[in-house]
Symmetry: C2
Subunit: 688 residues, 2 copies
């Protein structure tokens, strides 16, 4: 339910000039393609139907009403999120939703709640790493919410470096138990989602110590709270870690163990095991299999990055088509009464150059996430038939792409917010909280800067092997562009005129050449100049970035060539090809120094890129609103007064303002009186 | 007062390994210079003494205690800010503080409050634009807080374009009054600081209409609330505009007028006037004089940008010296017990490349803000003796510098936050709220992208005139670098080895050449290719940016050559020179495409810049902690568990966590029960 209105606005006032809804209508008529058809091409009809079905359910259930969220304190927001998570669990059961429906419903509800990690990491780990008996003992009750869990890996002093965690699980042969302990303050589990106030069980990553010998981090199930009373069990110190930039509807928690005993049974034993009688450690058969799941998780992250860009840029582009600022002195326009009209902000090239490339990135990441899901499926099939040849390339590329796309996406939200001018700063724009909630993506599942090293390590390995004996290297995209480079290091771009910039193959070759060039340069420093790994981190990051950009350009380019669904719809193909060109030219211009410094392009060619970008932006301008419409982000998800599909921006801003709780009280401004609300206030006086 | 602790932590636990406080001690011993001496060089001894004096007062007054702020709802935070603003007013009177003391005290208290705009824009406008009688009637009571005001310019539909505001003040000859009116929804005053719940008076910018003719926006004083009852007066609709990304301790408000009458006297009349008997409009004698004040405001903004960088990078560098992650495989270190030691994160070059350039920018902006204050003083003196020759250059440069430095600074806070890894996301790091509160700087006082056009318009004008007849152009820095370029367009950098990159003059020449080159290119498109202004906005922005970067490099470089205070202290000079080189090389590398594309440098020279950056970062590393110490940002202002000068990071994170109010309740996680806190909770059940 929306909070009450505390201020009454005079009736009959309208926004000046052409209304937002009229403007969007005009914009939509300008499109060269059908936005519903484009939406079906991007998302598929089945997915759009499913989204509509879920939306119908959520929008009609008061638990999922969003109209009060921006005004609540953290405690009240957390309460809302818990109610919402309970209701989602009920609905999942009621409608028998599968994994995709649950994911989409959670995305739409958009309030990351206390059961989030229970549903993802806790259940997944119990299922994947528990043996049959453990699945029965832990996974089954967890699936039915009879126990609620969390995944306790990160520690106060230990994030990315899992090997360095301090929590120990020491084998007690006498009782055949594990003794879980936190030896220091920094060994406290920290940041664990759902741990603070919610979970009664935890999968705890701890250093396994048997007969004085350490076997590295392993997962154990530890009960932490009484399921009925919710009190922490003896030896566990638990709490929420306090307010964060965002994600405050999740109770990230801390957890200290004081010599807590759990039975032998609680060490998850699908892969590595310990013999209860002897304490003998039996290692897992193949440690690389886990990489498959990682690729899947990262494909999801890249898809999320695409949908984050879609959401942010929908808000900004719609609002910039409604917002007007300054008359155009070179080409003035007038309203019906002959008064000078201010220009739509979206007509300013300085606004376009900030927003249209983000629109293009949304498409680009979309194709790359499809590529990753496809790769994941092929790779899993290969693994099952014993073929590990795709594994390393898949894993390396997924590391680089996770790193690149999450940094892009978090920056892009803020660019969109700034492009909305002052009103972007209002929470009612939807962008500030969206930004704050998205930020952890660049840190979790591997800090984006750390992770890129895994990608470059593989690039180095491949380049080294190719220089020795290419015939012994498995075929894949990386080998492909590196071989092309090694065969023709001195290659130069052949474009002379803006019109030469149209062929996806040109950009694929250019980005492949650059990725291989940077890798060879960095490898030279490592292998020949014998520079230390740590002194080369900046170069390593650039290699991973260049490789990932190559993949994104390549996957987008291949869609232009080969996507049959696209090629059967000329109106769609024409516009998507323009978007590809914008993405490729703009990215190449942004990274221009690399291409110039290697001699691949010269100054004149560099300037061609900039002109081409502007040329395509002008062509895209009439289609801008139809393009964001085709992203099919519902108003319910946007939750933005600026991004509304009906364009009634100014009415929405007022409606948001009058419900602000501050407006419910009169405040005492007398500087000599330290009481703040003397006048019939219904606000409680602060205790602080 | 800090909120109570809801969780008890077991006693005796310590962080693993060397403690944070010990680590910072070791770091401080490595410095090649005295950080107190550097602090005195940067800030001056008088300023440091004043900061210490103010700190003593604020830290010992419970009204300024910050320990509860991160946990409060908006309403409670607003109450805190109002108390704080009242107490600041009392202290200002008590201690007879001048403008600088008030500014510094407000910065230290760091809670932008409801009286902020009263103290700045309201008082300033009344004083500068009111005639003697108006000063007496309005400014004097306002100065004594007998009336509280706000500055109502921006409207819901009108930000940067002040000429486009819709509020009207129509002359009523019969009664010699102004009738103030809001004809539309978009004409509502919006974003006005202190208006929402606090102000009883407003300076209202309205289109002056006399006998049917419009004279553009003018400031009028309008009473809006009853001073005693705090009720809005008839015809005024007022409220707070609702929660924002930050700045929630200020009540930004909206205001609609329904044909409100004020007397003739209320039009501020120091410059333009209206004759009460005839309604005749008398324009101001010289409209350019106001630019002086603008320069002063922008010099303040550039200085703030510098101190924002200092504050953010102090947090990140200190924490990265304490945080350890992964052992160095190339050069492993061991603790006293022979266990492998993880590397201090600050030793990673990928962390250095993100933080050290920000440290260098803080120095760079510091010198440029000094330059601007100096320019302001010289310019004001000139104006008083009738010499307007400096005006245009000063105004243009201040526009470009405001634009560039605020965008840099807001990005830098987020870079620092990311460099702190997961813990940067906790509010206790101090960075999330700091970022959110700083963001408006890039939008207000002129949107940074819009504003840059004013700079480039001047650059175009100067370039055009120089090509016609240089002798008729006044001497200034812009003429200087443009003439140098026009005399030698084909100039090329002469550096061959890394050792050649040491001379500030080289960088000044390079940045000057680039700024002139970009200006000439863009001017060619405008004047010869007859491109429209709006189609060139991207190029215009690049010119302003290049000009501003030239100024920053130039001002920093001149300090290395000529700053006597610096040159009398060899230990300081040595380190500041390195910081200059880092700033210049890194900026040049970042903007490398421009220098490469114009042919000023080639690929080999470009790579030299990157190597030089890494070489200097390694040299700066041992001085990193001493350098941030020399910024003299007190712990009270940092308000950060990660940036504390004593290094006790992990203890502080725990102390922050245990006070989180969520921890005061037990939560009911039963998915079939929609009650959330069944168990002896002391949290009020939400009404929503």
């Amino acid at each position: 339910m929306a909070p009450p209105a505390f201020v009454k606005i005079p009736e009959g006032l309208k926004p000046a000039g052409v209304s937002g809804s009229q403007l969007l209508k005009i914009e939509r008529q300008k499109a060269s393609f059908d936005s519903r058809e484009m939406a079906e091409y991007i998302h598929g009809k089945d997915w759009l139907d499913m989204q509509a079905r879920l939306l119908e359910i959520l929008e009609n259930d008061p638990v999922f009403d969003k109209s009060s969220d921006f005004y609540l304190s953290r405690t009240d927001k957390f309460r809302r999120a818990m109610l919402k998570d309970k209701r989602l669990a009920q609905l999942t059961h009621e409608h028998n939703w599968g994994q995709t429906e649950v994911q989409v419903a959670e995305k739409l509800a958009d309030l990351p709640g206390p059961f989030g990690l229970h549903k993802s990491m806790f259940l997944t780990t119990l299922y994947n790493q528990g043996d049959d008996e453990q699945r029965k003992a832990f996974w089954e009750p967890a699936k039915n919410y009879e126990i609620i869990g969390c995944y306790a890996q990160t520690e106060l002093g230990h994030g990315s470096n899992v090997q360095g965690i301090e929590t120990t699980a020491t084998w007690v042969p006498e009782t055949q138990e594990w003794e879980v302990n936190s030896p220091t303050l920094t060994s406290s589990k920290w940041w664990i989602g759902g741990l603070g106030r919610t979970a009664d069980h935890a999968v705890v990553m701890a250093q396994l110590i048997i007969h004085g010998k350490s076997y590295g981090p392993h997962p154990l199930v530890v009960q932490i709270r009484d399921v009925k009373t919710r009190e922490p069990l003896p030896g566990r110190t638990i709490g929420d870690i306090g307010p964060k930039a965002g994600y405050n509807t999740t109770d990230n928690g801390f957890l200290l163990f004081d010599h807590v005993r759990v039975p032998h049974f609680n060490l998850l034993a699908r892969f590595s095991k310990v013999e209860p009688e002897t304490g003998k450690y039996l290692p897992p058969p193949n440690s690389k299999l886990a990489y498959g799941t990682l690729t899947w998780v990262r494909a999801n992250i890249v898809r999320d990055a695409s949908s984050v860009l879609m959401r942010a840029v929908t808000v900004a582009i719609r609002y910039c088509a409604i917002r007007r600022q300054f008359a155009d002195k070179d080409a003035p326009k007038f309203d019906e009464g002959g008064r000078p009209l201010e220009t739509q902000v979206l007509d300013y090239t300085m606004v376009q150059i900030r927003l249209f490339p983000i629109l293009a990135q949304a498409f680009a990441f979309h194709y790359t996430s499809q590529f990753m899901f496809d790769l994941y499926t092929r790779n899993q099939a290969n693994i099952e038939s014993g073929d590990l040849s795709l594994l390393a390339d898949t894993h390396a590329s997924s590391s680089g792409l996770k790193s690149l796309t999450t940094l892009y996406a978090s920056d892009a939200i803020e660019v969109c917010r700034k492009a909305c001018g002052g009103h972007g700063y209002s929470k009612s724009s939807g962008l500030p909280d969206f930004f704050a909630d998205y930020l952890p993506q660049a840190t979790w599942e591997g800090d984006s800067y750390m992770l890129s090293q895994q990608c470059t390590r593989y690039l180095f390995k491949t380049m080294r092997e190719l220089k020795k004996d290419p015939s012994r290297v498995d075929d894949n995209l990386t080998k492909d562009y590196m071989m092309r480079y090694l065969d023709n290091r001195g290659e130069k771009a052949s474009v002379k005129f803006s019109g030469d910039l149209y062929d996806p193959l040109f950009f694929m070759k250019a980005f492949g050449h650059r990725a291989a060039y940077l890798t060879e340069q960095a490898l030279h420093l490592r292998d020949d100049a014998k520079r230390s790994w740590n002194s080369l981190l900046v170069e390593l990051y650039k290699c991973s970035r260049a490789h990932s950009q190559y993949l994104i350009v390549r996957n987008f380019g291949m869609a232009i060539y080969k996507d049959e669904k696209l090629n059967s719809k000329p109106a769609l193909r024409q516009i998507v090809q323009k978007i590809f060109l914008l993405f490729a030219c703009h990215t190449m211009e942004q990274e221009g120094a690399d291409f110039l410094a290697s001699g691949y392009i010269d100054g004149a060619q560099f300037h061609l890129l900039g002109s081409k970008v502007q040329e395509i932006m002008a062509e895209l301008r009439p289609n801008a609103i139809a393009l964001v419409d085709s992203f099919a982000v519902p108003d319910y998800l946007l939750n933005s007064s600026l991004g509304r599909s009906d364009g009634n921006v100014y009415e929405a801003l007022f409606d948001f303002a009058i419900r602000e709780p501050l407006n419910s009280a009169k405040w005492n401004v007398d500087i000599n009186d330290m009481q703040t609300t003397d006048f019939d206030s219904d606000l409680p006086r602060s205790k602080l």
